[in-house]
Amino acid sequence: MLELQNISFHADDKDILKDISLKIDDKFVAITGPNGSGKSTLLKVIMGIITPTSGKVIFDGQDITDLPVNERANLGMSFAFQQPVRFKGLKVKDLLSIAAGKDVSKDCSYLRSVGLCPRDYLNREINDTLSGGEMKRIEIAMAAARGGKLSLFDEPEAGIDLWSFQSLIEVFENLRNITNGNILIISHQERILEIADKIIYLKDGMVDRYDESAKIMDDLNMRRRGGCDCAYGQKGVSCNG
């Protein structure tokens, strides 16, 4: 479905991605790894937001390396940003409608599925009156509304409070069940890593491990140890990664 051939990205005299080659066919694949390991950069290369210094991106057999972002979107790719973008004047229903390809004024399912009441949010401007957590959920709703063949999520759990966390996991479990497409998600969350078919473990811009989820989690000792849900948490020590 998705193939990366020798992807490298070089910027600021740094090798941020180093000769990454991967084939992704499983329905739900998670990318994890330390901060700064190149996860977001890799996801942006897949979406076309970043042009790699060298290498090729193949999607459903088609070389899309030179295809602009919107054309990739129209091939069925969607992207939820780690840091969602704000717009003065544009409303939640405007962007959701573009994402869904239809008027969502009367369709509430997208927002409800991320735990937001449509009545309260459809007419809100996507400006800085929305909190970080609200922005993240709207971002997820937009990617879900777009659906399609490949949905890319960059740390959807970051900034979501503990209360909503359980329902967020349900969102992804649900998404996994209903979508006909594939999901590629950057996450540090044990609960999300657990429901993945495979995990890509990125380190220093390289693929360190790529295997069945359970195997990687055991091998890298990622099961919950501390009071923190984060797969990197140390016993008794919470972390904010």
């Binding site: 972002v69 979107a73 969602p84 004047g89």
Partner: protein, 305 residues
């Protein structure tokens, strides 16, 4: 009314047919249709260069439409419209001017609107300016809006100039009495070699008076905008102004904030920002399938909404 005039009417006043309530439709310098109601009286000024509109005390949930259309090339006019709103009213006034100029002579509308708004009255004022036409003649508009707010009165203004005006010089002046409120949203888009100058002056003279001015501008092509917002706080009052602009191509925007306080209990804030469209906003919309031009258009549409 011909098709062109009907279309212009829709553009500036969102009217498909004659409006309900009071109205005066001015076309190429003459009153084409007029209607007064039991509470809203429209009269021609003796000098013949505009109208006086009287709202009886307690007029509620009524509207008054006064669109102006110019379709004759070379037509130039200066019109005075005065509004006398009694006390305890709650009304909507829709003004607007459309110039269609397909000829070689400049067409111009200078409208001077003066509002006297009585105690505890609320006025919603909507004004749209629009120009079109293929001729070499310019489309010029110089609106002046003067607002006097008595105790407890509120004026909520939505003013916009979205397309097709070559040159404009917009003056807005307001004086607020005790507990009066002025809300103003001004939107302006210029393109090509158009120029727009806007001067907004507010005097907060009464204790408890409040103003909130939001000015949004987009300058495309080689157009230039010059915006001055000037607030004086002369009592225990609150004044807020936000001047937010997007420049594209070779557009130029000058934003000049001016605040003056003559009372220690005056609290005045001015925020101004100018910049191009954020690249990440375009990228985000492209991930939703829009191409770069569509994304830009959507962002501006929202910004000027």
């Amino acid at each position: 009314m011909d098709e062109l005039e009907k279309r212009m009417l829709k553009e500036v006043a969102e009217l498909d047919s004659l409006p309900v309530g009071a109205f005066n439709i001015r076309s190429n310098g003459a009153s084409e249709a007029r209607n007064s109601t039991a509470n809203i009286q429209i009269e021609s000024r003796e000098s013949g260069d505009g109208i006086n509109v009287y709202f009886k005390d307690g007029t509620k949930n009524e509207s008054c439409h006064i669109p102006v259309i110019i379709s004759k090339t070379g037509h130039k006019e200066c019109v005075y419209n005065d509004f006398f709103v009694g006390s305890d009213c709650d009304v909507v006034i829709v003004a607007g001017c459309g110039i269609s100029n397909c000829g070689g002579h400049d067409s111009q509308h200078d409208g001077i609107h003066t509002f006297h708004i009585g105690k505890n009255s609320k006025v919603k004022y909507i004004e749209k300016h629009y120009g079109e036409g293929t001729g070499t003649g310019k489309r010029l508009m110089n609106p002046t809006t003067v607002v006097y707010l008595e105790e407890g009165a509120t004026m909520d203004m939505d003013t916009s100039q979205i397309a097709g005006i070559n040159d404009t010089y917009r003056i807005t002046k307001a004086e607020l009495g005790a507990n009066a409120t002025l809300i103003m949203h001004d939107k302006i888009l210029t393109n090509f070699d158009q120029t727009a100058k806007a001067e907004i002056t507010v005097d907060l003279n009464g204790d408890g008076s409040v103003c909130d001015i939001v000015s949004r501008g987009v300058a495309k092509g080689e157009s230039e905008q010059d915006v001055i917002i000037d607030i004086s706080g002369n009592a225990r009052c609150k004044g807020h102004a936000e001047c937010d602009s997007i420049i594209m191509d070779k557009g130029v925007i000058v934003a000049t904030p001016k605040l003056k306080a003559t009372c220690v209990d005056a609290s005045l804030i001015h925020e101004a920002a100018i910049g191009k469209i954020a690249g990440e906003q375009i990228t985000k919309l492209m991930t939703l399938g829009l191409n770069e031009q569509e994304a830009e258009q959507k962002i501006i549409e929202g910004f000027l909404r």
